[in-house]
Amino acid sequence: MTPEPMPLSQVGRSIPRLEASAKVTGRAEYVHNLRLPGMLYGKIFRSIVPHGRITQVNVSAARAVEGVHRVVTIEDIRSIIPNPYFGPAFHDQPILADHKVRFAGEPVAVVLAENYRVAEQAAGLITAQYEELQAVDDEVEAVSASVFVHDELKPASTFADLQHLKGQRGTNVALDYRLRHGDAEAAFAAADQVFEHSFRTQPVMHTPLEPFVSVADAANGRLTIHTASQSPSFVRIEIARLLGWAENRVRVKTAHLGGGFGSKLYIKLEALVAALSLLTGRPVKISLTMEEQFFMVTRHACTLKIKSAVDKNGRITARQCKTWWNGGAYADIGPRVTQKAGFTAAGPYDIENVALDSYAVYTNRPPASALRGFGAPQTAWAYETHTDLIAEALNIDKLEFRRRNILRNGRPQATGTVVRDTGLEAILDRLAERLAWDQPFDRGSDKLRRGRGIAIGFKAIVAPTTSAAIVKINADGSCTLYCGTVDMGQGSDTCMTQIAAEVLNIEAESIQVIHPDTDVTPYDMGTLGSRSTFHMGNAVRLAAEDAKSKIAALMAELNLPPGSNVPLVELFRRKYGMQAGNIIGTGSFHPAYAKPDHQTGRSPQVTPFWGVGGTGAEVEVDTETGQFRVTTLVNVVDAGVPINPKLVQQQISGAAIMQFGFTVSENMVFHEGQLTNGSLADYKIPGLLDLPRNFINEWVEARQHDGPFGAKGVGESATIALSPAIGNAIADAVGVRLTELPLTAESVYRAMQAAKGKPLPEQ
C-alpha cells in the first residue's frame, strides 16, 4: 500500500548528498581518524605459506622492542574466547591462526604497541616455522582432492540449508546447492540442438579506498566497537555469541565508510580487536594497509559449465549449469553467494527444464565473499556469452534471440517464483535503441576492427532479511531518523530522508540521520545486496507513517480538525504546556519469503524483488596487438521508481566502472598459493582515462509494487551484464571468443593467432 503522493514531492528529487560538503571539507567522521586515550595499535603478522601446521612462532625479538605492549597469538585469544571461531555461514575462521594456516597472508600473531610504527617494526621481527602441507588452489580440483582445508565442516546454526553438512569430514565442498525445474535430462534427449561451453572468472578484490579499520574499547563490563562495517547489527550478535554475553553489553558504531562493496560485511577485524581490548583492558585499533586488504576478502574465482537444448524455433528448452566457486580458506558468506547466484545461473530466460548445481569450495586462498552482485556477474559472464554463441550458431540476431527467450513478467523463474515488476524487456528495448541496433554498423578497417555486443542479466535479493527504523519528531517539530543502514558512499542517508520526508511532508534536507550505533539505532540485517532502499526504505516509510498517525491522534486529542495547519511545536506546547516531549514512530519491515525445498531448490517466493541490468558495448580492436578500447558503453538497469535520480545514476555508473575493471584489468594472480600482485601498482583498477568516450548510464522505470514509493535497489544491477557485453563486442569485431576473464589485450591477440593456426608460444 503506497500512500497518496504528497503535494510537495520529496521522492524523485535529485537532492545533493547530505554529507557531500562534510566530505569535501574533510570534516566527515571516519573510524580511521578515531583516537581514544590510552589506545594501543595492532599490527598483524601473517603467514607466508598457503597451507601448513605452525610448529613455532617466535615473538621474543618483537616483544623486546621498546614501546611494544604485548604480542598476542591464538593461545592468548582463547583465554578470552574459548572457542575463537567465527563466520556468518560456518564457524570456521579462527580469530588468529590456530596451529594451522590455510592461506598465505593469514593472520598468525598481533603486536600491540603504543604507536603504529613500533607495532609495524616489531611485527617484522616475528618469525614462524611451518610444517608445510600440500595446498589446494583450483576450485574444481579441490572437490576431488585428497587434501582438506578443514578437517570438519562447522555450519553456523543460523542457516537451515547448511545443517546437513554439520560434522562432515573429508570434503572441501562447503555447500552443494541444487535446483531441478522440469525434466532437463528428458529435454536434452529430445533436443534439436545442444550447446555446451565452459567459462572461468578470476579472483578480484573489492578495493574500498578506505581499508579495513576497527577499534574496540572494553570498559566497565561492556565493549564498544567502532568499526568501518557494513553490518553493525551482525557484528553485535556475533561478538556477543563469541563472548557469551547479552547483546546489550556490546555496542557497535560505524561512521562514514570509504566504500565497502561487500567486503566490510559480517566480521572482519572486529572479533580480533574485541579480544585484544579485553585482554589488555585498553582500547585497541587495527587499521590495514591497502596491501593487506588483499588478504582479507576477495570475489570468487569460478569455473562454470553451461549446456542448453534449443528447438527449431530458437527457443531454449532446457539448460544445465554447474558452477564451482573458489571460496578460499574460510566460507564467509560464500555459501550464500553459491546459493543465490546458483539459482539464477540459467539467466533471465523462460526455460521449462532447468538443472542447476552450484558448489562452494574451500581452497588455500584468501577467503572469497559477496562483491557487488553476489555472484550474478560471474554467472552472467557464462550465460550471456553462451547466449551469443547459440544465437551465432543458429544464425539468429542476438537481440532477437534474447527477446524470443526472455523471462516475461508473470512467468515463473527456475525456482518457481513468478517474476513480476521487472524491466527485462524494456531494458532490451532501450539497449537496442541506444546502440541503434537495427542500423548498419561501421565495422572499421583491417587494422582497427569494430564490433558491438549486448548482454542482460538479473539477480535475486538476499532473503529473508529484516530492517527496522525510528522516526522521532522533536518538540520543535524537527525530525530525527534512526536507521541502521550504513552510508558508505551510495547516498543512503539522503535517500532515507527523502522517504521519511515524503511521508511527513517536510523537506528531506531538514531531517537529521543518526548513523548506525547498536545502542541507539534499531536492527538492520546489513547494508548489502541492493537491499537497503527496499527493506530499510520500507521500514523508514512505516516509521514515518506511524509518526504521522500519532501526530493525527495528538491533533484529535487537542480537538483540532484533521489537516489543521497548527505547527507541530504548537501541538507540543498545547499538550505539555511548554515546548517538550516528542513523538516516536517505529517501523519494521520483513518481506514474505518461502524457504526453497532442499531437494529441488524450488520456492514460490524466493526473493522480495529482482535486480536487473543490461549492457551494450562497442569496441575497437587493434588487430596487430589485440589491444582494444571500449568506445561506447551503455548500462541500463531497472530502477523501480527512483527516489533520487542522481543517486541512481551514480550507482549505475559506479557499478559499471567497477565491473569494467573486473572485466579488462583486475586479476589477483596466484603462483603456488602466493599472491604475486598484491598492490595497486600491480593490481590495476580503472582510472578515469580508461572510461569509454560514450559512457551512458540510464534506467527504465518498472514500479516495484511493494517498494517504498515504487522503488527498488540498484546498487549492483549495472555489474551483472557488463563483462559478457564487452566479450560479445570483441567477438563481433574480430571473431574470437574469450571464455576466461579478464579480457586482456594479450588474451585477445592469442585467441586471434590461435584462430589463424599460428598460436603465440607460451612463455
Binding site: Q121, T289, E624, G687, L689, D690, L760, E762, Q763
Partner: protein, 293 residues
Amino acid sequence: MTSFELVEPRSLEETFALLDRDDPAVRPIAGGTALMLMMKSGLFSPLRLISLRRVEPRLAGIAFADGSVRIGAMTTFAALEHSPEIRRHLPVVTRTMRTLANPRVRNVATVGGNLAHADTHLDLPLVWIALGAQAVVVSPRGERIVAVEDLYRGYYETVLHHDELIAALHVPLRPTWRSVYVKVTTRTAHDWPALGIAVSLARDGSIIRDARIAVGAATKKATRLIQAETVLRGAAIDAAAVDDALLARAGDAAIGEISIEADSRGSASYKQHLLRVYLGRAVRAAAAAEPGA
C-alpha cells in the same frame, strides 16, 4: 616503516661527508616518490636519508649553451614539462611528460632521482638514451661523465657508487633529428608500461643517416638497441611509408639482441610481439615527423 635520520646538507662537500660508500642504508633522497614507496613496502629501510633539496645550485636549473642543454638533477618533472625552451628544443620530452605519472608526482619527482632509481619501467631514461644524453656524476673523487645508456647495470642497479651523485644531465640539441616515445600499456592507462620505446632518427632526404633506439619495461634495464639501429642506419625510406621488410628486419634484430621478461603485464612472447609492432610504429612515426620533433 622504521625510524631513520633525515638530513638536509647545504653544500656538496657536506653531502659527501654524510654519504657512505659502503652502506646502502645511507642514501640521497630527491623527490622521494620512488624511495618512499620502497620504504612503505619494506623493500628499503634507511638509516639515514640525505635530502638534496638544499644543496647548492649546481643540482638545479635548466641552462642552454653550446648546442646542448644542462638539466640539473634536482629539476622537477613539472619544471621540465612547463619549460618553453624544453618544449622548443626537446619537444619529445614535453610530450612524454603528459603520459608520465600524474601532476602531484610530477611536481616533486626529479630528473636525477628518476635516472638513479634504475627501474626499467621508467619512461624518461629511454628518451634520454635516444637523445644521446649524458649524466654528470660527482663524488669526493671529482667528476665523471656517464652516457645514460651506460648508467644501468641491471634490475634496479646502476654503475654509481654509494657516495656518488648525479649532478646534472647534458642533452645535445640536434635540430635535424626527430624523436618519438611510445609507452605501451596493456591493462589501464595509468599502469606501468609493458614496453617503452624511444626512437630518434636523423634523415638525409630518403636515407636514415643515423638512429638511436632504447627499450625498457620489458627488459631488466633500459637498453639501447644497437643491432636494430644498425639495420636502420643507411636504409632508404620512402617518407610516406617505411618499408615493412626493413621494419621486420629491425624487429628481428631487436629481439635477437635483448632478453624480454614476463610479468603481470604480459608474457615474454607477447611482449616480443609488441616490440616488433611498436618498434615499427615508432620508427614510422619518427620518420614522418618534422625535423626537431
